[in-house]
């Protein structure tokens, strides 16, 4: 039984179609990467899965209910401390023991030592970890991450993905968007390729490599990113 399922989702902004009948299904503990160039519809699809935006067509189901959402830009209060942010959202989530939940998230993010620091003084990577931890406070079966690694240096990225991988091991379904094809290939067990609101591919990284080789043979011997661009070109994008 899928943890979250979207069927033939359509979203329009005025006359522009941002999503054209996109479908997606993710099982428990699965890590799905949504990839595609800028303007492909990645954030729009995640917003619809998160329930922030309403689709103009199609259907979204999440049988277990709770879907955690982590926006691309850290959605937290920069003038509060790490602990105050976590405690506030734990209270807003209605946790019976918000202090215990805060301790749990401080442990998970590895920021226990920096709990009393004002968030504005933390690095972008650490802010993103708190951002994700806040998303986890709703104890979601599915966690949606919108381009979580944007603006982070390689070391911060590595720590972030290590953290995200641990979530998957805990049984949380993770769906993340990225425009970095190598990142998607490395951390996503399944890939959904979007371009101009259209789903071009849904399958494993190996399956995508095979599709690229088949549809853009002239670029098959080059690096995967170049081959992927050639694949998009062949598909008219």
């Amino acid at each position: 039984m899928p943890a979250v399922e979207a069927r033939n989702v359509v979203k329009r902004f005025g006359s522009r179609e941002a999503l054209r009948g996109v479908s997606l299904e993710a099982g428990p503990g699965e890590r799905v990467a949504i990839i595609g160039p800028n303007g492909a519809g990645k954030t729009t699809l995640l917003s619809i899965l998160a329930g922030i935006a309403r689709p103009d067509g199609g259907q979204v189901d999440s049988p277990d209910g709770a879907v955690g959402w982590v926006p691309q830009q850290a959605a937290l209060y920069r003038r509060l401390t790490v602990e105050e942010n976590l405690l506030l959202f734990a209270r807003l989530e209605g946790h019976e023991d918000p202090h215990a939940s805060t301790e749990e998230m401080l442990e998970l993010t590895g920021l226990r030592e920096r709990r009393e620091e004002i968030v504005a003084r933390l690095s972008g990577g650490n802010q993103q970890r708190i951002n994700i931890a806040i998303g986890l406070l709703s104890r979601p079966a599915v966690l949606l991450l919108d381009e979580p690694s944007v603006g982070l240096d390689p070391r911060q990225r590595s720590r972030l993905w290590e953290f995200v991988s641990r979530l998957g091991e805990r049984g949380t379904t993770v769906i993340f968007s990225t425009h970095d094809i190598q990142e998607a290939e490395r951390y996503g067990a399944r890939l959904l390729v979007l371009a101009d609101g259209e789903a071009l591919f849904d399958g494993t990284p190996a399956g995508l490599r095979e599709a690229v080789r088949r549809e853009a043979p002239e670029a098959a011997d080059r690096d995967f990113e170049t081959a992927f661009v050639a694949y998009l070109h062949h598909r008219g994008h």
Partner: protein
């Protein structure tokens, strides 16, 4: 509404973490209170005017051969302005040119002689000289007004003295008495005694002479009766038109109470509107708005929390200001229940207006500027009194200011501070209506602008 409590706590924590903002919120009302307090506890300073009196010391104004008592023109003038006595015209000119004094008033040596000539066949034109420096139009207007007023008062004082002397002579003619002239005392019989003598001697006269004497007696009696009427007429000559001020509407409290109400309302308006609009926009700026409204707190709950924040901070700051004002003006503390009602209603309506502004903006800086640009002109327009502009313009201002909570908040706070003004019920109802309207607008704006 569980989330409202935690969000309120969070906003107060953020406020505490912004020392500049917190200090401004406390310092601003104290500054306003001190400024207004000083302004209303000290009267305006008298303008400095150079005064040159060239009239010889013992010269007196004469009426009908007699001299009027000294009019003390110098004292009268120097009671209204700060006199700087100068010795000559050059010094007077120098002080005016240098800006040391606002103007110079010169009483020429022939002034009294020319006044005395007014009761002769060759009357002169008594003149005083005023030296002014008109480099500043406002200053020139002020000098003109002050000098015109002073001369009108001097003329009035002289006319009253002349009137008093005239009445005294008339009294002598009617009732009789002694009159001193050129060192000699003359007894005046008077019309009253004349009529009595004539009536007494009439029976002793031959019959053919009696009708003529009765005519004279009748004239003396009529003259006595009618000249009595002339006395009040002479008294009115000095001030033919009297002022009888009747307040027919718009009963108002003392000026200092109104000034305090204006200061308190300005403080309340700026603190509440800026805080509510800014803190709502901050939710967007921090990207927290979609996260909060994804089930953690409803749009209505978020608006309620921001308005509550504005009410709480506005109440504390305005009360602090009013308590500060008590050092300057005795405010009635037993009306504190009405103070609270006015401040709470004003803060709620202003908070709802701030929420409507904040709901439509995404940046704190932009919304702060917008809130300032809306609040300041509305506050100024709310203070425009009737008659200061054309009736059509005043009607437009009245309708415009009725749409924003500043004016009803000012009316409510004025009524709460002093019982002399209009009642508090009307403004409170007005504020309640505006609260409902602005809260609805804010709710719509939040839904409209939060849609993805």
């Amino acid at each position: 509404m569980r989330g409202v409590r935690w969000l309120l706590l969070k906003d107060l924590q953020i406020l505490r973490r912004s020392p500049l903002q917190a200090v401004l919120l406390v310092l601003y009302p104290i500054l306003i209170a001190v400024l207004v307090g000083f302004a209303i506890s000290r009267g305006p300073e008298d303008p400095r005017v150079a005064f040159l009196n060239e009239v010889p010391p013992d010269t007196r104004i004469s009426v009908g051969g007699g001299q009027l008592p000294k009019a003390n023109v110098k004292d009268r003038i120097c009671h209204r302005v700060e006199c700087v006595f100068v010795d000559n015209r050059e010094e007077a000119e120098e002080r005016v040119e240098s800006g040391d004094v606002l103007a110079a008033l010169v009483l020429p040596s022939d002034l009294v002689n020319k006044i005395n000539s007014l009761s002769t066949l060759t009357p002169g034109v008594p003149e005083v000289e005023v030296l002014v420096n008109e480099e500043n139009a406002v200053k020139a207007e002020l000098v003109d007004d002050r000098i015109t007023t002073l001369l009108a008062q001097a003329n009035l004082a002289i006319a009253r003295r002349i009137g008093q002397e005239g009445s005294r002579y008339l009294d002598l003619i009617v009732n009789g008495g002694n009159f001193d002239i050129l060192g000699q005392r003359i007894h005046i019989l008077g019309m009253d005694a004349t009529a009595q003598i004539l009536i007494a001697v009439t029976p002793a006269l031959p019959k053919q002479l009696r009708p003529s004497l009765e005519e004279v007696t009748k004239f003396a009696t009529q003259a006595r009766d009618n000249l009595d009427v002339a006395k009040p007429l002479i008294a009115r000559l000095a001030q033919p038109i009297a002022v009888d001020k009747v307040v027919v509407g718009g009963a108002s409290p003392p000026l200092e109470i109104f000034a305090i109400a204006v200061a308190a309302t300005l403080t309340l308006a700026f603190v509440v509107v800026l805080l509510v609009a800014g803190s709502l926009a901050l939710e967007r700026e921090e990207n927290a708005f979609p996260r909060l409204t994804r089930g953690l707190v409803s749009n209505t709950g978020l608006l309620a929390e921001k308005i509550l924040l504005g009410i709480a901070v506005g109440l504390v700051v305005t009360l602090l200001m009013l308590i500060g004002m008590r050092f300057f003006v005795p405010l009635e503390l037993d009306r504190i229940g009405l103070w609270l009602a006015a401040i709470l209603a004003g803060a709620a309506a202003l908070g709802a207006a701030g929420a409507a502004l904040g709901a439509a903006a995404r940046e704190v800086r932009a919304v702060s500027l917008l809130a300032f640009m809306v609040t300041l002109p509305i506050a100024f327009l709310s203070l425009v009194p009737s008659g200061a502009v054309s009736p059509a313009a005043f009607d437009a201002i009245r309708y415009l200011t009725a749409l924003f909570p500043f004016k009803p908040a000012l009316q409510a706070i004025t009524a709460a501070l002093d019982e002399a003004g209009p009642g508090i019920g009307g403004p409170l109802l007005h504020l309640a209506a505006l609260f409902v309207v602005y809260a609805a607008i804010a709710r719509l704006a939040l839904r409209r602008f939060s849609a993805v």
